[in-house]
């Protein structure tokens, strides 16, 4: 049930830090080596998208990444601070609505990558804004020192 949380101001350079942390914690949690590339890429995409949303919306809040080791799954949530349109079921349309022209194309491409990579994906929202939830299976015996 160990949890790591990372918060960073919406700057592109911190997306790399998020990727690094997610991959390191996922490896330790027992996520298979072969899947770590996927984790890295998916977290990067979700964070890039959140950074884009914050910047376009002029929001100063931090982007939040939460890493939760569950018994059989490793769960990652990436939360932005851009409140969703009430009742919008479809997070992707929300993300793209906020963007104009090529930003929209980029947001769409990011979501295409995430949804192509991650089997267990949920795009929703919480009280702060949008949340991308992703999870991966962990090996029964996590890596020991």
């Amino acid at each position: 049930m160990a949890t790591v949380e990372l918060r960073f101001s919406a700057l592109p350079e911190h997306v790399r830090t998020a990727r690094l942390v997610a991959a390191a914690v996922a490896r330790r949690a027992g996520v298979d080596e072969s899947v770590l590339d996927e984790v890295r890429l998916a977290v990067g995409e979700a964070c890039s998208r959140a950074v884009g949303l914050h910047r376009r919306s002029g929001i100063d809040d931090a982007v939040r990444v939460t890493l939760v080791e569950q018994e059989k799954r490793f769960l990652i949530e990436v939360g932005d601070g851009v409140p969703g349109t009430a009742g919008t079921e479809n997070g992707s349309s929300r993300a793209i609505d906020g963007a104009s022209g090529e930003d929209a194309a980029e947001a769409a491409m990011g979501l295409a990558v995430i949804s192509g990579l991650v089997d267990d994906l949920d795009i929703g929202s919480d009280e702060n804004g949008g949340v991308v939830r992703m999870s991966w299976p962990v090996a029964v015996h996590p890596v020991l020192p």
Partner: protein
């Protein structure tokens, strides 16, 4: 790891060798390079991605942008890539249908439409 870029000319083609990570942080640098080349009149580009460790959708966007630019001048943009994990990203996004992807720079140089 950061982005490295180096450019050379082979016949009428311009090869851009890219190394490191192409992501939301470094993609602007690659975009600048492509824009500059097109502005200088280089319309047949080959982007060699063999040294790329990481590519995200921002990087894809920049490559698509480059393609649009060279096409506006009847040019071409070819990719060189053999890495499965990078190719996967082009496949997921359907961009394997948009870019000619070659397994070596020689092959890309020899290719015609």
């Amino acid at each position: 790891m950061d982005l490295s870029l180096s450019t050379r000319t082979v016949g009428d083609r311009t090869v851009v060798e890219v190394g490191g990570e192409i992501d939301v942080y470094t993609a602007p640098k690659l975009r600048e390079q492509l824009v500059e080349l097109v502005n200088e009149g280089h319309y047949h580009l080959i982007v060699d991605m063999e040294g790329v460790d990481f590519l995200d959708s921002t990087g894809l966007g920049v490559l698509v942008g480059g393609l649009k630019r060279v096409r506006a001048h009847e040019g071409s943009l070819r990719l060189v890539c053999n890495q499965e994990r990078i190719l996967k990203i082009f496949r997921i996004t359907g961009l394997t249908k948009v870019f000619p992807i070659h397994s070596s720079v020689d092959e890309a140089v020899a290719a015609t439409d």
